[in-house]
């Protein structure tokens, strides 16, 4: 597990402390630090909606039952700017989902990491690392 590096020197620590990431809402209010999860799921729907995108997965339990999960992701504008579109990821794709469950205990979570079957993390580094290349091959 890669850990956040300790930043020291040059006042970098204070610079970052003074410039927090102002997200749309406080994730820690919505999701539970004490409910981390890691499971495999099959993408059934991808909502490219504001202010955050939501990924829907079917998750198979040990007893063979299937549960539906919703996973929160980045804003559509941010994704589109990186060349990601609604068609980038095919429905039916299986992936490993790592995150934290909603505090109300329902099957919702924040997707800390979405990892494809071959080990690549989703959208990492932009277009070059996407599971599918654009139609024009670029």
């Amino acid at each position: 597990m890669r850990m956040r590096r300790v930043v020291a020197g040059l006042g970098a620590g204070v610079l970052l402390a003074a410039a927090p990431l102002t997200a749309h809402h406080a994730f820690s209010s919505e999701f539970d630090i004490n409910k981390p999860f890691k499971f495999r799921g099959v993408l059934t729907k991808w909502e490219m909606i504001n202010p955050h995108s939501w990924f829907h997965f079917d998750v198979k339990g040990d007893d063979g039952s299937v549960a539906e999960w919703m996973i929160e992701g980045g804003s559509p504008n941010s994704l589109i700017k990186q060349g990601v579109t609604k068609h980038t990821l095919a429905v039916g794709t299986e992936m490993l989902i790592e995150g934290y469950q909603a505090k109300d205990g329902t099957n919702k979570g924040v997707g800390r990491n979405l990892v494809l079957a071959d080990g690549r993390r989703l959208f990492l580094g932009g277009e070059s690392n996407l599971p599918e290349k654009k139609p024009d091959g670029k």
Binding site: L21, A23, A26, E47, L124
Partner: protein, 347 residues
């Protein structure tokens, strides 16, 4: 490792596209012997004109930055060296792109690079300033006036009487409720994402579309009076005029609910947009609110040329987060009540 290399590769690609600002800023300041740019005349750059003769500010711009509004404590100088700021930006980009420690509050979030939220993946102007605030010279907000202190206490008491931040939807921050975010302002300040703006000009008007909340300011230039005092708006009453090559926008009639940095509704805002080269707009603003601060204060942010188009950001479209946050708070209360009941029954 692959991850980090990709991110840093993107970071340097961005910097490679913005050599001007870094070198020009340093040289310009060295020549003038002053680092104060508030109100300074535009550079020798000949700003192109629109067909009706306005200086042309049109296009897509971003105010994405890692520079904080206030100078960090412990930093005493106004400017970093180019080497220092490059190192700071590299570290900030690395920090943003790396995984946080599992089991910490910061980790309850998605990965920034994975979801396009890492600022170093996009265009960003290089800013040597240690703070966006340029006046007062210490780079920090001036002290509160007596009235400002009294109102801050009153607001805190009022907030307390309404209950916790998640007790009612009205207690949630304006951003979580999709009403207004710091990228909209006014003044318009960068944040973690959706930092793009589009400026369009027609005879008599300048229009600024903010990517965040898809909010638009249509600024009249014809010298019409401000709205009547009793008409208060989230983004105020704003009127523009040209001073040479600088667009000056004056805003008043804000609402008490907005309270930018704790300001009163009497706050007057003056924004100045100057295109200093083909790739950069110098955005300056001055906040004047004696009902809050002992003196006016000013800040400066470079806006860097970006690419479009801007996609719609219909913030309420799928704002499940607001529901989830409130539902989470209710679940926690229930759990706490159950724990308390169990404890009591054991006694």
């Amino acid at each position: 490792m692959n991850h980090r290399l990709l991110v840093l590769g993107g970071f340097f690609a961005v910097l490679a596209t913005v050599p001007w600002l870094s070198t020009r800023t340093v040289l310009g300041q060295a020549r003038s012997g002053s680092v104060k740019t508030g109100g300074a005349p535009a550079t020798a750059y000949a700003v192109p004109r629109t067909p009706d003769g306005q200086p042309d500010l049109q296009g897509f711009w971003t105010n994405a930055t890692y520079t904080p509004l206030e100078r960090p404590k412990g930093v005493t100088k106004e400017l970093y060296t180019r080497e220092e700021v490059l190192e700071l930006m590299k570290r900030a980009a690395t920090e943003e792109a790396e995984q946080t420690v599992p089991g910490t509050v910061a980790d309850v979030h998605y990965d920034f690079s994975q979801f396009g939220l890492d600022r170093s993946q996009g265009v960003m102007a290089l800013n040597l300033r240690t703070s966006l605030i340029v006046d007062p010279p210490d780079g920090r907000l001036p002290p509160l006036s007596a009235e400002g202190q009294r109102r801050a206490a009153e607001r805190a008491a009022a907030r307390k009487s309404r209950g916790g931040p998640h007790d009612a939807v009205q207690n949630e921050p304006l951003g979580a409720r999709c009403i207004l975010m710091d990228r909209n302002g006014p003044p318009m300040l960068g944040g973690a994402y959706n930092n793009t703006y589009q400026i369009m000009q027609v005879p008599g008007y300048v229009m600024i579309l903010a990517e965040m909340l898809h909010d638009v300011r249509i600024i009249p230039l014809d010298g019409r009076p401000h709205l009547p005092e009793n008409v208060r708006q989230w983004t105020g009453s704003y009127r523009g005029h040209w001073e040479g090559q600088t667009l000056v926008v004056e805003t008043r009639n804000l609402t008490d609910k907005f309270a930018f940095q704790g300001a009163s509704e009497k706050m007057r805002l003056t924004e100045r947009f100057t295109r200093v080269d083909a790739e950069t707009i110098r955005y300056q603003f001055t906040v004047d609110d004696p009902a809050t601060w002992t003196r006016p204060w000013s800040a400066e942010v470079p806006w860097r040329k970006d690419s479009g188009p801007i996609f719609e950001h219909a913030c309420h479209e799928g704002n499940y987060g607001l529901y989830n946050t409130l539902a989470g708070a209710r679940a926690e209360e229930k759990r706490a009540a159950e724990d308390a009941a169990k404890k009591k029954s054991r006694q």
